[in-house]
Symmetry: C2
Subunit: 217 residues, 2 copies
DNA sequence: ACTTTTTTTTAGTCTAGTCTAAATTAGTTT
DNA sequence: AAACTAATTTAGACTAGACTAAAAAAAAGT
């Protein structure tokens, strides 16, 4: 059995090792808002359980088993987020904290049935890929920021680069939801803002927004 | 904030006070498979938080606030059970352990939306009433055990008296699901077994079963 | 009413997971 | 390479929530 705390650490280590391979004590501490000394303690426990490779002062990596556990937690998190948005009509910026709790519910059968119920989605409402029951992640969906599109291009919104709450709320307000089809009507050279055509209405967004919105390739 | 442990105690005390009003330390210990000394410790903490009225050696009752909390946990438990059975196709005997975890997820918004999604059900798959968001419980559904019916009577299965796993599995196997309409074709005097007509098929059940099945009035 | 049994509480111990403060190691600068 | 700085670990303390064993109170039996 795994404690909730152990799962939080494994997930954090996984996320941090996406960029570089090895992760430092301080990085983990910051990610979990804990003190470095607490992290050291836990890393020893995780190493005893063979979920991480840990060498004093040298940082930490996940073992195969540790990575598999992390992927299953991420799978649960993203499936629950999908459920909350598509079945319970939550906005995509409201679901994170609830999914953070639901991801620790312990039942493989539950999560496989939820997966089926949702139609085996490959991406969550933020556009992040959902690992399958074996931990396999679909090749990243081909996408580019809106700012790479040219006048006349079309595409579908499939995610965001920076998922902060304020930004997601803005998108929601403007009707820029996941799955919305957009059409670049105009690009204004002087400030690189984009005039979009969406369902026969026009909307102009700033350069900043255009760099943050991911459009299906 | 409440810990999972505190919630488990409040729920147990609520369930035990359905019959008698006051509950003893030993009863709680047995219900939670803990030692009496652990229960005493926790009762003091719950009393400090004004969730129970506790007098040494004299047993314990819930305060208004404590009862309200217990009802909300029961509400969550039963709504999740309903979700698992009606949306994810679990059998009614498979859902208890999972609901036991889900009932501690902390989000009022989540549970209200789940309630709406399920169509504001008044009873869970076991036939137990679901408290509403104010903790109100609908008057118990009028029901009687099958053993009270006479030859020729009709009714709908709405619950069970004893919800042990073996029994529920038996029912499932025989096609005796919640909501199934039954018709008493014959009662055999020599052993009080019941011959039922269900969707034009016949099925005989023992006296024991007939006392355990609740039929809508 | 006195003794025995049962129930409940107290006192002290243990573990997981956090913290602070001090010590150690690694990295960087001169 | 010595000295300083930053990162990491160690040592020791704390809390919640469980436990065991012993003491105290209540209930039951004679």
């Amino acid at each position: 059995m795994r404690s909730r705390s152990e799962e939080d650490y494994l997930k954090a280590i996984y996320s941090l090792s996406i960029k570089g391979s090895s992760t430092s004590t301080n990085e983990i501490a910051k990610a979990l808002t804990m003190k470095a000394s607490s992290v050291t303690d836990m890393l020893k426990k995780l190493a005893d359980k063979k979920w991480v490779n840990y060498i004093k002062y040298k940082g930490v990596t996940l073992t195969k088993e540790g990575k598999q556990i992390a992927l299953q937690i991420i799978r649960k998190h993203r499936l629950w987020e999908t459920f909350l948005v598509t079945n319970l009509n939550f906005k995509w910026d409201e679901v994170h904290d609830i999914a953070e709790q639901l991801e620790h519910i312990d039942s493989i059968e539950l999560i496989n049935r939820l997966d089926k119920h949702l139609g085996f989605p490959k991406f969550d409402p933020h556009g992040d890929p959902i690992p399958d029951k074996n931990g396999k992640i679909q090749d990243l969906r081909k996408s580019q920021p809106l700012s790479d599109l040219k006048k006349g291009d079309k595409g579908i919104i499939i995610g965001v680069v920076d998922g902060t709450s304020i930004f997601l709320r803005y998108l929601d307000n403007e009707g820029l939801n996941l799955g919305t089809e957009i059409h670049v009507a105009e690009i204004f050279d002087f400030d690189f803002s984009y005039k979009l055509k969406i369902n026969n209405k026009f909307l102009t967004v700033s350069e900043r927004v255009s760099k943050n919105l991911l459009i299906q390739f």
